[in-house]
């Protein structure tokens, strides 16, 4: 195995024992990028000079025999929605094509504190709005398992580069499933922590009451290591919550004896792909064999989660995206007639179709005469969805579901019909409404070879049970060890 194929914890041992250097490791990642990026197209910006500098700084620490943190010298890719000081941050939008943030997001400062190595910025749906990464203004990212399919979204680039071994791990953001769904579709581990666990300072806002940063990794151990680095209350984000941050590696316990797992019947209803259903059922049975008890539960308002989400998220987005006006940063139209004309032309030329659609939907839902019927109504249904989970967690410790109703679909298959694309999020938006932590772990492959994800959910701030369950599953299965063989596609795509 070459270095770029290893996990964070395996590489940390090698770096600590000085079998390898961080510079060698970083070089191996860029060699892999040269090899597969023309097919995968997961990165928007590569930061090689900076990365080699960060790697050699980490090497100095290792060479001096310092106690180095677990992410020291580890190559990590960052979704292009997270502000990186002096490094172009586009949100995959034309309107931010030339934006270089004057500050780092809090998560970036935390990664730097661990001497992690930033490889580059990854592709995404524009402003994180989408489920396939096809809404990027720049490029289409291809799923490493089948280059003709989408990697999921909106953090499709961050998922694809980890699956392709062209990053050791990555950060994404999840508003309605944007970490969990691409993790499932790309066969990697993806976690959305509890809302408030991780600072959103420097995360370009989409829907502020839902957005959360989280990691993509190759296994659950790495997930715990990245969480350890980035969690915690931040004075710069008043919605980050002041709760103790445990050492998440202590939750890496190979034991689910006595754990009560709830299986919500609404998640196995019509619309679920038969092969996905079978693989997820057998994953849940595996957990039962390992000592967990299963209970069928009901989350009766599941079917309303998408409708609720597509009011609340666009409403918040329409307010958040008002800041893109061509005044302080980003794109500005040429030769506007006056100020209002400048706003309108800048935004009309700078935003893509899906972003405009959501701004329109959100502005409509908040406009005079409609606010009670739409926005207020959706907020009330959000309460009902949250109450379903509150009731369920009185009976069970963990909820297990599919992450996505289908495996990855073909590029272009759902772009013509926005509503079909929105329905991709049916399994992930409910937990987003309730602010719950959720993880997706690979649980098998359909006959065509595409990966399937098992989603696990726990009550707020119980990432520990989530990690323990997912870790136990991985210790007793090998789905997460399988890697895609990336076809050469010259002339094909």
């Amino acid at each position: 195995m070459s270095l770029n194929q290893l996990t964070v914890h395996e590489l940390h041992e090698k770096l600590k024992e000085r079998e390898i250097t961080a510079v060698e490791l970083t070089e191996s990642i860029y060699a892999r990028i040269d090899e597969v990026e023309p097919s995968v197209k997961g990165y928007l910006t590569l930061t090689k000079t900076l990365a080699l500098e960060q790697a050699s700084n980490a090497d100095v620490g290792f060479q001096n025999g310092n106690e180095m943190p677990p992410l020291a010298g580890i190559p990590i890719a960052i979704k292009d929605v997270i502000c990186t000081k002096d490094v172009r941050t586009t949100c995959a939008s034309k309107i931010l094509s030339n934006f270089k943030p004057p500050y780092d997001a809090t998560v970036m400062a935390k990664l730097q504190k661990q001497n992690a190595v930033m490889i580059g910025k990854t592709n995404m749906d524009e402003f994180a709005m989408g489920s396939s990464t096809e809404n990027s203004a720049y490029q289409i990212t291809h799923n490493p398992w089948d280059l003709e399919t989408i990697p999921g979204g909106s953090s499709g680039g961050s998922a694809a580069v980890v699956a392709a071994d062209s990053a050791i791990c990555s950060l994404g953001s999840d508003t309605g499933g944007s970490i969990r769904q691409p993790a499932a579709l790309c066969g990697v581990v993806g976690m959305k922590p509890t809302y408030g666990r991780i600072s959103r300072y420097g995360l370009i806002a989409f829907a502020s009451s839902l957005d959360q940063i989280g990691p993509f990794t190759k296994d659950v151990t790495d997930c715990a290591l990245v969480l350890n680095a980035i969690c915690g209350k931040d004075p710069l984000d008043s919605t980050s919550v002041d709760v103790p941050v445990p050492d998440f590696t202590e939750s890496l316990i190979n034991d689910v004896q006595g754990l009560r797992i709830g299986v919500p019947k609404e998640y196995f209803a019509e619309g679920l792909d038969a092969e996905v259903a079978e693989l997820v059922h057998s994953a849940i049975q595996k957990l039962e064999q390992l000592g967990a008890s299963l209970e069928e539960i009901s989350l009766p308002h599941t079917d309303f989660a998408i409708a609720t989400y597509y009011i609340i998220a666009p409403a918040e987005a329409s307010a958040n995206l008002a800041r893109y006006d061509g005044v302080r940063y980003g794109y500005r139209t040429e030769e506007p007639v006056d100020l209002i004309d400048m706003y309108k032309k800048t935004r009309t030329e700078g935003f893509g179709q899906e972003v405009k659609r959501r701004i329109m939907l959100g502005t409509f839902a908040l406009s005079a005469g409609y606010q009670d019927a739409y926005y207020r109504k959706a907020q009330k249904v959000r309460t009902l969805i949250k109450s379903d989970f509150d009731a369920a967690f009185e009976k069970v410790d963990v909820i297990a579901t599919p992450t996505s109703p289908t495996p990855a679909f073909k590029i272009g298959e759902r772009t013509a019909d926005p509503l079909q694309m929105y329905l991709c999020d049916v399994m992930t938006t409910p937990a987003s409404h309730a602010g719950l932590p959720g993880i997706s772990v690979p649980c098998g492959y359909v006959k065509s070879g595409l990966p399937v994800g098992l989603q696990l959910l726990t009550p707020p701030f119980d990432e520990e049970t989530l990690l323990r369950t997912a870790y136990t599953y991985q210790q007793n299965t090998d789905h997460h060890l399988k890697r895609p063989i990336i076809a050469k596609t010259e002339g094909k795509i």
Partner: protein, 100 residues
């Protein structure tokens, strides 16, 4: 819930500071109409006595001491601006100098 007309779309576009030509307005009218139809399923639920959730955690105002702290330099703040003048963001003229 309401149906959405091309007139509504033009009105909302103006509120959102976006511009659409006739064809796009028609396109958005149809698409938003279908999405709003789907969202209409929320009316199946009686939410009369349900309190709204705007945020998942109990939020409260957070105050901080009123002391001057280091902030970004003006140069750093203006670095990304499309147009600046004398240390300010520059925008097209807002008020006409000539009356007409």
């Amino acid at each position: 819930m309401a149906t959405i007309t091309p007139k509504d779309v033009s009105h909302v576009a103006n509120l959102a500071r976006l511009e659409f030509d006739a064809e796009e307005t028609q396109h958005f009218t149809e698409q938003l109409g279908r999405i709003l139809d789907y969202i209409g399923k929320l009316n199946e639920l009686d939410t009369e006595d349900v309190p709204p959730t705007s945020h998942i955690h109990p939020l409260q105002n957070i105050t901080k001491p009123d002391v001057v702290k280091k902030s970004l330099s003006i140069d750093a703040v203006l670095e990304n601006a499309p147009e600046t003048a004398e240390g300010y963001f520059a925008v097209p003229r807002v008020i006409d100098t000539q009356s007409n």
